[in-house]
């Protein structure tokens, strides 16, 4: 258990900008600088940066690194070439989702796994005893920082800042490059639904890099905008849409956990797929601005038929949207439902996510 709230290497930068801070996943993080709305729209129309140093970064190396990781990560890792990253899960034997992760292949013998902040300690304790003695493991989360730079101007601007053409870097591809004698990693990934990059560099250099990007005109954005952006982009959040009591089948994400090769949780996922999930994750959209919130009940024909896991007003769509788990027969786009809010009930339509995407 985390006993004290941690600070990222950018904590002083956030304070200097007058950010509103809150605890998230055991870390003191910026919620907003100017405001959620303006940070959201700046990401959709220009370029913003997010402190994501709180996320976990695990490096694996050795001749058996691929073999060991393949048995732990639900995605097909053997089909990946160098410089490719893929989204997948760490699962329990019963198929419950321990975490959702992104695996980076530098080469067959060197891998990076990026995990959620709140699950970092749990993941490490689960992974390390399962690796075998021949795989070297490093939790680099403290020595390495991470920034997400997102928005339609991100690739062009970062090409100039890093003096390297990144505009042709494919989605879910990454490169390593040398900058002032330091090797940094840049991937075409993100959590906003926009074109953008995630940049990994030394924790001791990240504050200077942050300041350099501020001077280049990149606006900082906080966790508030990160949440509304990922909702519009239909991206699940661990602890809301994903948890140990759910499998990838309920989340509608079985395609990330269906490789032929064995991995922990594979048999349970296959069984759940064959039997059919009682509930499925779906998006919803209302006609107005009033938001449904996590925990609100979904009613269909007057009886309880699901539960909201995330909900907010969506600035780009100018209406309230969210994620919910609904009984499988109902969980199809077009179904009309009522959401109990504790005040006036909301009328909503179940929809296919994402409601917004400009990643490609």
């Amino acid at each position: 258990m985390t006993t004290s709230i941690r600070q990222t290497p950018l904590f002083a930068c956030h304070q200097a900008l007058g950010a509103r801070m809150m605890e998230f996943g055991g870390w003191m993080m910026p919620v907003q600088y100017e405001g959620i709305q303006s940070e959201h729209l700046a990401t959709r129309t220009a370029v913003t940066m997010f402190d994501t140093c709180h996320m976990g970064r695990f490096y694996f190396s050795g001749a058996r690194a691929l073999e060991a990781l393949s048995g732990l990560v639900s995605q097909d890792l053997r089909g990946m070439r160098d410089g490719v990253c893929r989204y997948g899960f760490l699962l329990r034997e019963d198929g419950g989702i321990l975490d959702d992760v992104i695996a980076y292949r530098f080469d067959a013998q060197r891998w990076l796994l990026v995990v959620n902040a709140g699950a970092r300690d749990k993941d490490r304790d689960w992974i390390v005893p399962r690796l075998g003695a021949e795989v070297r493991f490093e939790d680099a989360s403290d020595r390495q920082g991470k920034l997400d730079i997102q928005g339609p101007r991100a690739l062009e601007l970062m090409s100039a800042v890093l003096n390297r053409d990144l505009t042709a870097l494919g989605y879910f591809r990454f490169i390593s490059l040398n900058r002032n004698g330091e090797s940094i990693v840049v991937s075409r990934t993100g959590y906003t639904g926009e074109k953008g990059l995630e940049v990994y560099l030394g924790a001791d250099r990240i504050a200077a890099f942050w300041d350099e990007l501020l001077r280049a005109g990149v606006k900082p954005a906080g966790l508030g905008a990160r949440d509304t952006l990922r909702l519009e982009a239909g991206l699940p959040l661990y602890g809301h849409e994903l948890s140990e009591s759910l499998t990838p089948v309920e989340a509608g994400m079985e395609r990330y956990a269906s490789k032929a090769e064995d991995f922990i949780g594979r048999a349970a996922v296959a069984r759940r797929l064959a039997a059919g999930a009682a509930r499925r994750l779906c998006g919803f959209r209302t006609d107005g601005r009033q938001a449904a919130r996590a925990g609100n009940r979904i009613l269909a024909d007057g009886r309880e038929a699901g539960i909201v896991t995330s909900g907010s007003y969506a600035p780009t769509l100018q209406r309230a949207i969210g994620f919910a788990y609904a009984e499988t027969p109902l969980a199809t786009p077009g179904t009309r439902v009522t959401i109990e809010t504790g005040r006036a009930p909301l009328e909503a339509e179940l929809v296919r996510m994402p409601l917004y995407s400009a990643v490609k």
Binding site: G35, I36, Q37, S38, A291, R293, S312, Y313, R343
Partner: protein
């Protein structure tokens, strides 16, 4: 950002006497604490409230917050512009961001509300 000539509540609302009615809104401090407002559940005209009754609800990205009737009153009118532009409360909390007008209000109750000076002290004590 605590204008003179208004009455305030400990729940960070303001009212202003205006042509026999009261205009009501939330304070600059309240809108700043809530962040960008995304939705206002306006009361129905004619709604009758006792002092302290939930009058209406304002929502930000993260939360919904009740706004209470500062005194016994009846809702005379609402600022319909907020239905599509709740950000007016953030931009101009004491002006274009007014939320509703109240009639048949309790004149004795008004005297028990906070003066600008008392509200300033309340904010100072809350931030201490």
């Amino acid at each position: 950002m605590i204008p003179e000539g208004l009455y305030y509540t400990k729940d960070h609302e303001w009212v202003r006497e205006d042509g026999g009615e009261l205009a009501l809104g939330i304070t600059h401090h309240a809108q700043e604490a809530l962040g960008d407002l995304t939705y206002v559940e306006l009361p129905k005209t004619g709604k009758v409230c006792k002092a302290g009754d939930a009058l209406l609800v304002v929502e930000s990205h993260k939360a919904a917050s009740d706004v209470y009737a500062p005194v016994a009153c009846t809702v005379a009118a609402v600022n319909q512009a907020l239905a599509d532009a709740p950000e007016q409360i953030n931009q101009d909390p004491y002006g274009k961001g007014w939320i509703c007008r109240l009639k048949e209000w309790d004149r004795e109750g008004l005297k028990s509300l906070l003066t600008p000076e008392a509200y300033r002290k309340l904010l100072a004590s809350e931030s201490a």
